[in-house]
Symmetry: none
Subunit: 413 residues, 2 copies
């Protein structure tokens, strides 16, 4: 099954936005045993006609993203409909959906919005729960044309629509041969990608049918095993044996979900006292739905006087060791544990940059402390010499991973 992805959007070609659709769609298809054969990115506007026309001749499935909005350069639907000679009809269900979105937001409906309710004859509406532009599916007609999906461009509209409306249709389309492929994912923290590959590749050579992929993202490595079921299980056993402690999860859950679930299960609360992360750890915890069960408060103590006033850190201690130190991180965690009455408290103090490094404590140095009601306070020194925003993410992950290890019964040292 030849699948082609066409991404429309001048902002992608002008470099204003990174195209994340291809990776999302590629990954989703792969889980179905399918793969994208080719992807094209074109500007908004007339180019869509040419791109789809070319694809019609060489694809079994075409997935188009973008160009379904209400503005004048959004012509994807009209262009494809005219290529396939399908007249457009106003769809009442879509009109009602658009009206309900506008009225719920207290906005007035304008004429251009109603153009989004024009659906080509013979096409199916793919419900867009997060926006006004519906997706559109043209089923193949007697092998004369490919299956064509038109999807909205904003990721928060595309992703759920793809999962709910496109995936089930693709499942029906895919042939059984491809379906026998299985995959398994490990999320690992605390080992670099090349060290991980180095440690595993010799073992994996004994399983030549196993396809292994590594994907490293700011302190996390995803290891993906692909092959038939038995082969994947053999590979998974090897990873479990060598990287027990470092394995965050074998599910698709992010680290913060793993941590929040562990806390909910053990009915424990977490608080944070954050300096260099500026609240990102707390925000990441509260990204998880249900986190209010285990999260009560956090203190963002950016300035030294905030550390003293809110966490009771003696000004002397900061004076003596500096705010970025083992001693201050230790005191921050214990101060936070005490004032919040939580079961665990994470504290971080570091140098995010781009200024403020010293020879002893270069840019990217951070102390992460974990204090717990029933355990010794742990402080670790980490070094993430990366840009400011990556530094905050890596520090957040390292901190949450320390808590994950403690909650899973690993001794921190």
């Amino acid at each position: 099954m030849k699948i082609e992805v066409i991404n429309t959007g001048s902002e992608l070609l002008l470099g204003r936005v990174v195209n994340t659709h291809l990776a999302f769609i590629g990954d989703s298809l792969f889980k179905l045993g399918l793969r994208v054969q080719r992807q094209i990115c074109i500007p908004d506007g007339e180019e869509i006609r040419k791109a789809v026309k070319e694809s019609l001749e060489c694809s079994d499935v075409i997935i188009v993203t973008g160009g379904l909005g209400p503005t004048t350069d959004d012509i994807t639907c009209e262009a494809v409909a005219s290529l396939l000679n399908r007249p457009l009809h106003q769809n009442d269900t879509v009109i009602k959906h658009i009206e309900s979105i506008f009225s719920s937001r207290g906005l007035e409906l304008t004429e251009p919005n109603l153009s989004q309710a024009l659906i080509p004859e013979g096409a199916e509406v793919l419900h867009n729960s997060n926006g006004t532009a519906p997706g559109i599916y043209f089923p193949a007609v007697a092998d004369q044309s490919p299956h064509i999906f038109l999807l909205p461009g904003p990721p928060r509209e595309l992703v759920p629509l793809f999962n709910d409306e496109v995936v089930p249709r693709l499942k029906n389309l895919r042939n059984s041969a491809a379906a026998s492929l299985t995959h398994h994912n490990f999320k690992i923290i605390g080992v670099g990608e090349s060290n991980l590959a180095h440690a595993l590749d010799d073992d994996f050579q004994s399983i030549p049918e196993l396809e292994v992929g590594y994907c490293c993202r700011l302190g996390e490595v995803d290891v993906r095993l692909i092959g038939d079921k038995n082969v994947v299980e053999l590979g998974a056993e090897l990873i479990r044996k060598k990287f027990t402690r470092e394995t965050v999860t074998e599910s698709e859950d992010p680290l913060e979900k793993v941590v929040v679930d562990l806390l909910i299960k053990s009915k424990q609360h977490i608080s944070t006292a954050e300096s260099c992360t500026g609240g990102l750890i707390a925000s990441t915890i509260t990204d998880v739905s249900g986190s209010s069960e285990i999260f009560n408060r956090s203190l963002i103590t950016y300035a030294n006087n905030a550390k003293t006033e809110l966490l009771g850190i003696p000004a002397d201690l900061i004076e003596q060791h500096g705010a970025v130190s083992d001693e201050v991180a230790h005191a921050m965690a214990e101060g936070c544990l005490r004032t919040s009455r939580s079961d665990h408290a994470i504290a971080v103090s570091g140098i995010a940059g781009p200024n403020g490094g010293t020879p002893d404590k270069p840019l990217g140095t951070v102390y992460i402390a974990l204090a717990s009601k029933n355990d010794l306070t742990f402080v670790g020194r980490f070094y993430f010499p990366v840009d400011r925003s990556s530094f905050k993410i890596r520090t957040t992950r390292a901190a949450l991973d320390l808590l994950r290890q403690r909650l899973q019964g690993f001794k921190l040292s």
Copy 2:
């Protein structure tokens, strides 16, 4: 000048890696007054022949990434050389470079690595300071073929090579017509994309040479004007007139940078008291380098008792109005202003979902308050019926935008 980008790499199509090359190249070209016309992504291997062949006929410049490595599916160089009928010759400078890299890493050179030193006749070597595979440049031959650049796939090799070797050559190629193209960006908050387009499109029709693009991202709309200088200025004036208050910036800066700069300029501090955003507002502020000048602390008061203990909100008030209310947000902001001794305090309390909505206060309802030393406390009720993480981002933007408006002297109401 028609420029096409061809990205090779199965990992991009399988969704293992996000394609960041297009955004990087698109942005770099745009700064030169050039733009990518079309981008294609194809798997490793034979597909490259077909893709380049098609591009030869319709491009002035082709930029290919990937497929220059030492493995058997790396055939970009050989494929393009054979399309152009160029024999390959071993290049001594490249051999020496490869040898020096291997010896510095203590590795032994293998035969496949030397294949990277085969350079097509008439092509120029583009030095790769971070890897063994050189880039290759085929200058156009008497307008019979386009200019072709072959670049290594790994970003840490491609980026410096592009800046050092490709950009200067493109500068020479760019013709004066393309160079006269200018662009101007507006970031607007508080108006939806379709309402914005509706309000502007009639006016813009009087400037048919002006290209206008809209890009909407979670509460922000980027309006991009492209054309020659005078035409863009005409369009910019129209936007300035209609959307004075809603224009966050005409620079490339994000909202948080605009706000932090305004605070630095006026030597004022901001603190936040956050419930539903869980620290995201503070984290976003501290994403800006230099924010320690204007940011001292924040309190994340997720639970009701945290609001009482840390901000002095009477338990009665919460009992009477609910935590998600005008009254509590108001008290949170004023409590935060008082305890932090900052010049401004933002407070948010809302229902991020997916649970917890009521008919009166459905999911997505949020109260945002702004208290200031020298101004009345403002509270607004907002409604962002989107997924949890988008809700947090939209609330953060709305809150920072209120502060932006106040700092710029707009009266909040």
